[in-house]
C-alpha cells in the first residue's frame, strides 16, 4: 500500500485542522488503538504487561505532561517526579480518607492537587528562566521528597513509611489482573493524549508555544505570560500527577517516596528530549525507548557475555547497563537532537515521495 495523499482534497478549514489530515494516518492510528484494546490483551503474557506495557503507558502519560511544559511552553523542569509524588499521595489520601469516593475521582483529584502545587512551584518561572528555572524546580523535588518522608499525616501514619492500596474497583469492575490494569491505563492514556493534542492545536497551545519561542513578542500581541506559563505548569502537573496516581495505585500498589525521586524526574526529561520536544507522538516514542532499553540490556548483556565466554556478574551487568544507557543517550542527542519524532516525520516525508528522492 502506498502512502500518498493524492486526491485527498480538503475543502473546509475543519477538514484541514483535523489531528491527522492525511487519511492513511487516520486509519493507521485507529488500527493501532483498536489493536491495543482488543488484540494486545489476547496476545500478551503477564510478564510483558507488568514489566513493559503498564509502565510504558503510565510513563507516556507523564511524558506528555512534561512535554507540555518543556516542549510546548519551553520551561525546563527537573521536578516532574515531585508532581508524580504529589499526585500519588494526594490520590491516596483522598482514597482512604473519603470513604466511597470513586477511584477515578481520586485519580483526578490527585491530578488537580498536583496542578495546584505545580502552579505554586511555577511562580518562579515568572521571574527566572532557562537553567535557573530548571534548578529552581529541583526545589519542588527535594521539598516533596522530604514532606512525604517526614510528615506522617500524608502516609496515614504508616510506620514503615510506605503506603499501599488494594482492591481497586471502578463501578463493578474489579481491577485485579494485569490485563485489567493495562486496559485502565490505556483508556486513561488515550483520553488524556487526545485532550493534550486538542489543547496544543488550540489557542492555549499557541500561547504556550509563543511564550516558548519569543516571550517579548508574545506579550506584545496580547498573550499574558502569567496566564500562559502558569496554565502550562497546571496542565502539565495535572497530567504528571494523574500519572503518578496510576503509578502508585496500579503499577506499584505499595510505594515509598523513593519511587518518585529525582532520578524519575531525569528519566521523564530524557523521555521528552529523546522522543522529541513539542510533540505528543514523541512522548510515546521517548517513553518506549526509556522503558524498554534497560530491560533489553538486562536481558541481553549476560547472553552476549556468554557468547564470548565471559560470565558477567550482576554488579557488572548493572554497571555495564549504566554505561551503555549513558552512551546511547549521548549518541542519540548527537545524531538526532530533535528526537525520534523528527526522525519519524522525515521518514514519513520520504515515504510520501518514494521512490523519488525529492
Amino acid at each position: 500500500m502506498l502512502y500518498r495523499e493524492n486526491g485527498q482534497f480538503r475543502t473546509s478549514y475543519a477538514a484541514d485542522q483535523q489531528i491527522f489530515p492525511i487519511a492513511q494516518d487516520r486509519w493507521a492510528i485507529l488500527a493501532i488503538v483498536v489493536f491495543a484494546f482488543v488484540g494486545v490483551p489476547l496476545l500478551v503474557d503477564e510478564y510483558l504487561f507488568r514489566a513493559i506495557l503498564i509502565p510504558f503507558l503510565i510513563l507516556s502519560l507523564a511524558a506528555i505532561g512534561v512535554n507540555i511544559l518543556v516542549g510546548y511552553c519551553g520551561q525546563i523542569t527537573l521536578g516532574a517526579g515531585a508532581f508524580m509524588a504529589v499526585g500519588a499521595y494526594a490520590a491516596y489520601n483522598f482514597h482512604i480518607r473519603l470513604d466511597g469516593l470513586p477511584l477515578l475521582v481520586s485519580f483526578l483529584l490527585g491530578g488537580c492537587t498536583a496542578a495546584a502545587v505545580g502552579i505554586f512551584f511555577g511562580i518562579p518561572s515568572l521571574r527566572v528562566r532557562g537553567l535557573y528555572l530548571a534548578v529552581a524546580t529541583l526545589a519542588a523535588q527535594f521539598f516533596t521528597d522530604w514532606v512525604f518522608l517526614r510528615v506522617p499525616w500524608f502516609t496515614n501514619n504508616a510506620s514503615s513509611g510506605s503506603v499501599s492500596v488494594a482492591n481497586l474497583q471502578i463501578l463493578s469492575w474489579q481491577i485485579e489482573t494485569p490485563t485489567d490494569k493495562y486496559l485502565l491505563c490505556l483508556t486513561i492514556l488515550v483520553v488524556f493524549a487526545l485532550l493534550a493534542k486538542n489543547m496544543t492545536r488550540c489557542a492555549i497551545g499557541r500561547q504556550w508555544m509563543a511564550i516558548r519561542d519569543m516571550d517579548v513578542a508574545a506579550e506584545v500581541i496580547g498573550i499574558r505570560p502569567l496566564f500562559a506559563k502558569l496554565s502550562a505548569f497546571a496542565v502539565s502537573s495535572f497530567f504528571v500527577g494523574t500519572a503518578g496516581a496510576l503509578w502508585g495505585f496500579v503499577h506499584l500498589a505499595s510505594w515509598e517516596p523513593a519511587a518518585f525521586s529525582v532520578d524519575r524526574s531525569f528519566q521523564l526529561l530524557f523521555m521528552v528530549i529523546i522522543g522529541g520536544l513539542g510533540s505528543i507522538m514523541g512522548s510515546f516514542f521517548g517513553a518506549a525507548f526509556i522503558v524498554i532499553l534497560p530491560i533489553m540490556l538486562n536481558q541481553f548483556l549476560p547472553a552476549i557475555g556468554r557468547v564470548f565466554g565471559i560470565s558477567i556478574s550482576t554488579a557488572g551487568v548493572s554497571h555495564a547497563e549504566l554505561i551503555i544507557f549513558g552512551v546511547l543517550i549521548i549518541f542519540f542527542l548527537i545524531k538526532e537532537p530533535h528526537g525520534i519524532a523528527r526522525m519519524w516525520s522525515t521518514g514519513k516525508e520520504k515515504l510520501r515521495l518514494w521512490p523519488f528522492p525529492h
Partner: protein, 309 residues
C-alpha cells in the same frame, strides 16, 4: 554565643566545599555554556581513582611512604581526569556545538551515567577511605576571648585552607596567564573569540581539565571526611543552589554563594530542624536560593539580563 559561632564556622567550612563543587559548574558553564550535571559524577570518579590508586600503588611499586604513595596517586588521578576531559570534548561536546541548553544538560547526564558506570567497573563499588593525613582531632581556640572557647574541627580548617588556596590559584591562572585570558574571552563571546584565532576546542579541553582537577580536590576532601561512596555523586545536587544563588557565570558568586548556603544549611539544621523535623538542609538550601532568585533573577553576581526587541 559560643555555640552559635561554632555553628557559623562549621557552616562556613562546609560552605567552602560547596564552593568547590559550584566552582566546577561555573568554570564549565562560563566557557562552554554547558550546565554540567556530571560534575558530581566527576567528583565521585576522581575520589574513587584517588582512593584506589593510593591503595594500589604501595602494592604495585612496593613503596612504604604514605606521602609518596599519595603524591603519585594524586598525579595519576589528575592525569586521569585530564584524559576524561579530553574524551568528553572529543566524543561529546564537539558534536553538540550550538545545541540548546536542555539538550546539553541531558548529554551531561549521559556523561554522568557513563562515568559512574566506568568508575565502579574499574575501581569497584564499595566504600573506600582516602587517607591523606588530614588531622582528625578537634582543637579549642579563642578560649581567652569567648567564654568556654570555640571547638573547631582541624580537618575542616585544613580543608577550607586548601579550598581557599585552590581558588586563589585559579584566580591567578585566569587573570595573569594568556590561557586564562583566552578562557575569559571565550566565556564572553564564543564566536568573537574564535574569529580572533582562539582555538575553541582546546579551550574547552582545558576548562574541563581544570573542572576535573577541582573535582579531584573536592573529592579528596569530601572523601577523607565521609569516605568514598556512591552518594558522593549527589554532591552535585548540593552544589546547584549555590550556583544559582551566586550566578551561573560568576566565580566570586560561586564562592560567596557556597558560604551563604553552607551557613544557611547549618543554622537551619540546628535552629529550625528541631521544630519541623530533621533532614531539611537539602531543600532548605534550594528554597533559600529560590527566594533569593525572586528578588535577583540573575543571581548574586550574574549579569543582568536586558530584553531587546
Amino acid at each position: 554565643m559560643g555555640f552559635f559561632i561554632e555553628t557559623l564556622i562549621g557552616g562556613l567550612m562546609a560552605g567552602m566545599l560547596y564552593s568547590l563543587v559550584a566552582l566546577g559548574f561555573v568554570l564549565i558553564f562560563k566557557a562552554s555554556g554547558v550546565f554540567n550535571f556530571a560534575q558530581g559524577a566527576m567528583v565521585l570518579f576522581a575520589a574513587l581513582a584517588m582512593a584506589r590508586f593510593s591503595a594500589w600503588i604501595p602494592e604495585w611499586l612496593g613503596i612504604d611512604s604514605r606521602l609518596l604513595a599519595n603524591g603519585i596517586a594524586f598525579i595519576l588521578s589528575a592525569a586521569l581526569m585530564c584524559v576524561v576531559a579530553w574524551l568528553i570534548e572529543r566524543l561529546v561536546l564537539r558534536h553538540l556545538v550550538n545545541q540548546d541548553g536542555a539538550t546539553l544538560l541531558m548529554a551531561t547526564l549521559g556523561i554522568a551515567y557513563v562515568l559512574e558506570g566506568i568508575g565502579s567497573s574499574i575501581f569497584g563499588s564499595d566504600i573506600y577511605r582516602i587517607d591523606v593525613g588530614m588531622p582528625k582531632e578537634p582543637v579549642m581556640i579563642l578560649e581567652g576571648s569567648i567564654e568556654g572557647g570555640l571547638l573547631i574541627n582541624k580537618e575542616d580548617f585544613v580543608a577550607a585552607l586548601v579550598a581557599a588556596l585552590l581558588v586563589g590559584t585559579l584566580w591567578l591562572f585566569f587573570q595573569k596567564t594568556s590561557t586564562g585570558r583566552a578562557l575569559r574571552a571565550v566565556a564572553d563571546d564564543h564566536q568573537a573569540a574564535q574569529s580572533i584565532g582562539i582555538p575553541l576546542n582546546r579551550i574547552w579541553v582545558i576548562v574541563w581539565c581544570v573542572a576535573g582537577l577541582v573535582a579531584l580536590v573536592a573529592g579528596i576532601i569530601w572523601g577523607s571526611k565521609l569516605g568514598v561512596q556512591f552518594s558522593l555523586a549527589t554532591v552535585a545536587l548540593r552544589g546547584l543552589p549555590v550556583v544559582i544563588l551566586g550566578g551561573l557565570t560568576s566565580i566570586p558568586g560561586a564562592i560567596i554563594g557556597g558560604l551563604i548556603i553552607g551557613v544557611g544549611e547549618k543554622l537551619s539544621e540546628v535552629y529550625l530542624g528541631p521544630l519541623i523535623g530533621g533532614g531539611i538542609e537539602i531543600w532548605f538550601a534550594y528554597q533559600l536560593a529560590l527566594v533569593f532568585l525572586l528578588f535577583r533573577p540573575q543571581g548574586l553576581f550574574g549579569e543582568k539580563i536586558i530584553d531587546r526587541v
